[in-house]
Amino acid sequence: MNDKQDWPLYEIFIRAKSGLDHKHVGSLHATDARMALEHARDLYTRRQEGVSIWAVRSADIVASDPAESDAFFEPARDKVYRHPTFYDIPDEVKTL
């Protein structure tokens, strides 16, 4: 290995306990998927922080562009009627 060349970068996601989503916790370098999982275990679950790990090559992640986010998320901006609080219901009406 050339010391100037870093191993591929992996993004690490941890499920803290069953029933919860996997959550992004950080990244690390590894030669392959197996090393990524083992290093993720040593790096991010030293105190039993997880029951499951996902490792994804950072290069494989497709992300929205923050510079375009205003336009990209614009369609949802004027649709307040999608929220329950948009509707006025008299107090006398219960469990609604």
Partner: protein, 332 residues
């Protein structure tokens, strides 16, 4: 992806770009002022990026070099339990270094570049790790004082404006508390032990007190990066504020141990409700930073040796991964 458009444009565009740049900068500062977090791909001023790369990588290097003074005692810890605790603590420091290198990399700098900066002596790390650990009590003093000072510095960094750094700091702060408590407990045991053990604890406090105060960096009047870092909300409190806070919380802890803080001018000031303390020897600080501390050379040599001696492991892992992926292709 991480570079800014400014770099790639021709001279004709520079005037427009400068105007746009000013607008972007105003918007950036407004986001920071509103306590919004800045994320890796967001626009940021080049100086903000440089400042963060410098600070985060120095912080990472400090964690990595910080493994050495304590690692010195792993083989000689006084019991099997103390040994396993110390291994866990040193492993945490390595982990903190890894979290921080990852955070720095989100700013577009390569890990290999950062490692090289450390090994060639181009990068700085905390002056504190250039002091020796001649006795077991030094391990206690490091946990109590050095990790205590680090916590004081790091808790405000959990609210730093740069998202990846702030998140790494949250993780680190959770783990540092174990470090500080195990250190204080070592001191407590020694302070309650034989006269020789008490002396050993006192001598360690004498050695580590002043270098710990220096960890907060130069006095506010002489700190060149502070004002801008405050504006960018990378820093939340000044060096002197944090130092004072550390003194105020640590002196009563020393009192409880029955140990004496090595500062003849140390006194409680009723009016300000703070401890007054004597002048710090900034010449010593400058000397250690410039590479002339008691262990600077030894620390860097140890890092270089570890890097060189680990080379075959990195090469083998790379070769193994290549072989496995070739086999997978053949099998498919």
């Amino acid at each position: 992806m991480y570079t800014q458009g400014l770099d790639s444009l021709g001279k004709d565009c520079l005037r427009d770009e400068a105007r746009d740049g000013a607008a972007l900068e105003t918007r950036f500062q407004a986001r920071v002022d509103a306590e919004e977090k800045i994320e890796p791909k967001d626009w940021m001023p080049e100086a903000y990026r440089r400042t963060l790369v410098r600070q985060i990588s120095q912080h990472a290097h400090s964690e990595i070099v910080g493994m050495l003074p304590e690692g010195n005692w792993i083989t000689r810890a006084p019991s099997l339990l103390r040994k396993t605790i110390l291994i866990a603590k040193v492993q945490d420091e390595g982990g903190h270094g890894a979290y921080l290198y990852s955070a720095a990399e989100t700013l577009g700098v390569a890990r290999s570049e950062l490692v090289e900066q450390l090994l060639t002596g181009k990068a700085k790390y905390s002056s504190i790790f250039n002091y020796p650990t001649p006795t077991w009590a030094d391990v206690g003093a490091i946990g109590w004082l050095v990790d205590g000072a680090a916590i004081m510095n790091q808790i405000p960094l959990c609210r730093c404006s740069y998202g990846p750094y702030a998140r790494a700091m949250v993780r680190i702060c959770k783990e540092e508390s174990f470090h500080q408590r195990q250190g204080y407990e070592i001191m407590l045991r020694l302070a309650r032990g034989t006269a020789a053990q008490r002396d050993m604890a006192q001598a360690a406090l004498d050695r580590w007190w002043w270098p710990s105060l220096m960890m907060f960096g130069p006095s506010d009047n002489d700190s060149k990066h502070s004002a801008q870092s405050m504006r960018w909300k990378i820093k939340r409190f000044s060096n002197d504020e944090l130092r004072q806070k550390f003194v105020d919380t640590t002196v009563p802890q020393a009192d409880y141990l029955g140990l004496k803080v090595p500062d003849p001018e140390l006194a409680w000031d009723e009016a300000t409700q703070h401890y007054r303390f004597g002048p710090i020897d900034w010449r010593e600080f400058e000397q250690v930073l410039a590479g002339h501390g008691p262990c600077n050379r030894e620390r860097l040599e140890a890092r270089r040796r570890a890097h060189d001696e680990g080379r075959w492991v990195r090469e083998a892992a790379t070769a193994w991964a290549a072989k496995r992926s070739a086999e997978a292709v053949q099998a498919a």
